[in-house]
């Protein structure tokens, strides 16, 4: 028999998990299970080959003296104990290197316009709890919409960055605060004309497109550290280190090469926890495109000075 406290706890726990974030990719799980199972069998096979290999060395030495015995052992070594050919090394053309992965990520540039990018990340601060932030980016415009919090702490913030005809960076910002039912708008201006050529294409945005990944990779030395599953995607994980300190980890889907997770580390000198951002590449819908690119002020909300 459960006490009222236990019954309430049970009820609350069920309510907490009553949010279905997405289905598991059972196909991917099964494929991975099959691969790992095959690999396990192959490793066991190779272990057999290794044992036979030792026998070959011994028997070849013996064959120098005894004729056919060594050759028979050598023929047996060409096959695993199950009679199947041993695992072949990957063809050099298919070797996965950091450059290979970066090249494939760069190739996604031509496809960016087909998506909106949703990023969900934690903030990193020392001494205060981290909060979760969702940022939608339209790669076509570079415009972003940020959502944070719930209840009285909920806010939505839009930002549109661009260079004006005088080559000055402009940032149009709008924020809606749902707790006090207020909103503000602020048009921020850069200090002066940009030096050098004005960047082509959209200026803003917060998503791991090819340019961002290149910037991360340029910040240190990359290496491939694994192929974990992330949010239903089989990924290739790149770790980027500056000196001996890991500064970034990037997880790119091995089929589409879209980055689905990034982790930013702050190094051993900082107490700040890492920032993890998970990305979804969402097909464009007119409703969502409109929402990301156009601030929506709910009826009855009051305009206040920026920062209020």
């Amino acid at each position: 028999m459960k006490s009222p406290e236990e019954i309430r706890l049970s009820h609350d726990l069920h309510r907490i998990v009553d949010v279905r974030p997405g289905d598991l990719d059972i196909d991917a799980i099964e494929r991975s299970g099959q691969r790992q199972r095959r690999r396990g069998l192959a490793v066991r096979g190779l272990a057999g080959v290794a044992v036979l290999g030792v026998a070959v060395v011994g028997s070849l030495a013996a064959a120098n003296h005894s004729g056919t015995a060594g050759r028979v052992a050598g023929q047996a070594a060409a096959r695993t104990p199950t009679g199947k050919a041993a695992v072949q090394p990957a063809s050099p053309a298919n070797v996965e290197t950091v450059a290979y992965v970066e090249k494939h990520i760069a190739a996604t540039a031509s496809n960016l316009d087909n998506y909106l990018v949703k990023s969900v990340s934690n903030t990193s601060s020392v001494g205060t709890p981290s909060v979760e932030i969702t940022i939608w980016t339209d790669p076509r415009t570079g415009n972003t919409m940020l959502q944070q919090g719930s209840g009285a702490g909920r806010l939505t913030y839009w930002e549109h960055d661009y260079f004006d005809s005088d080559r000055v960076l402009q940032s149009d910002q709008t924020q809606v605060n749902y707790g006090p039912r207020t909103w503000w708008k602020y048009d921020m201006q850069g200090d002066g004309p940009v030096q050098g050529p004005v960047p082509s294409g959209p200026v803003g945005g917060d998503y791991p497109g090819p340019a961002q990944v290149k910037q991360w990779l340029d910040s240190g030395v990359g290496k491939i550290v694994g192929h974990p599953y992330v949010d239903g995607h089989q990924t290739v994980e790149l770790s980027i280190s500056a000196g001996s300190v890991e500064v970034h980890a990037i997880f790119a889907d091995v089929h589409t090469y879209q980055v689905v997770r990034s982790i930013k580390y702050f190094g051993p000198q900082s107490d700040a926890p890492p920032i993890t951002a998970n990305y979804q590449w969402v097909p464009r819908t007119s409703a969502m495109v409109k929402l990301v690119n156009n601030p929506v002020i709910p009826a009855g909300f009051t305009q206040v000075p920026v920062g209020d």
Binding site: E6, D12, S32, G33, N122
Partner: protein, 165 residues
């Protein structure tokens, strides 16, 4: 499609979501929970004949999941940082219930892993003390004492955070 495949897929479809719910309360993050469940199911697939032979695939796979969570706890570099924020959809009004459940979720993450597992198995999955003891590989007495300590800690945490509001 092979027999293994059909049976496994049916199991994964049926049990994938409850496993994710359990993993979420243990990890505090839906992405980490999905990773844990995927790893769990991959292991279950690899050893499916053994899982079936065990007689109770559900309990067997839940055991794999608990081990996977323990393993990640021992390797903090593999753990996904916990997001200390409500995972429920944002709503325009501040609901006391939502705020309280978010605090409960945070309090749960503050518990030692064994106590958290005990709470999740007993009060989310409604496992009996005997079943919980079997799954955690401990005695019924330990389950009782872990539950009692966990409830006490949760009560204290919720009282403390409520008084700050």
């Amino acid at each position: 499609m092979s027999g293994r495949s059909e049976e496994f897929r049916e199991f994964a479809r049926d049990r994938g979501w409850p496993l994710q719910q359990t993993a979420y309360l243990l990890c505090g993050d839906w992405h980490a929970a999905q990773d844990v469940v995927q790893e769990t199911l991959i292991k279950a697939y690899r050893h499916w004949p053994r899982v079936k032979r065990a007689g109770n695939p559900d309990a067997y796979v839940r055991g794999i999941l608990l081990n996977e969570v323990r393993d990640r706890w021992r390797r903090p570099e593999k753990a996904v940082p916990v997001a200390h924020f409500a995972a429920e959809p944002a709503v325009p009004d501040a609901s006391d219930d939502i705020a309280r459940r978010d605090r409960l979720r945070q309090a749960l993450l503050e518990l030692p892993l064994q106590q958290r597992m005990t709470v999740v198995l007993r009060y989310l999955e409604d496992q009996t003390q005997v079943e919980t003891a079997k799954l955690l590989g401990c005695s019924e007495g330990t389950v009782k004492s872990q539950s009692s300590r966990a409830l006490g800690t949760l009560r204290t945490f919720l009282t403390r955070t409520e008084s700050k509001l």
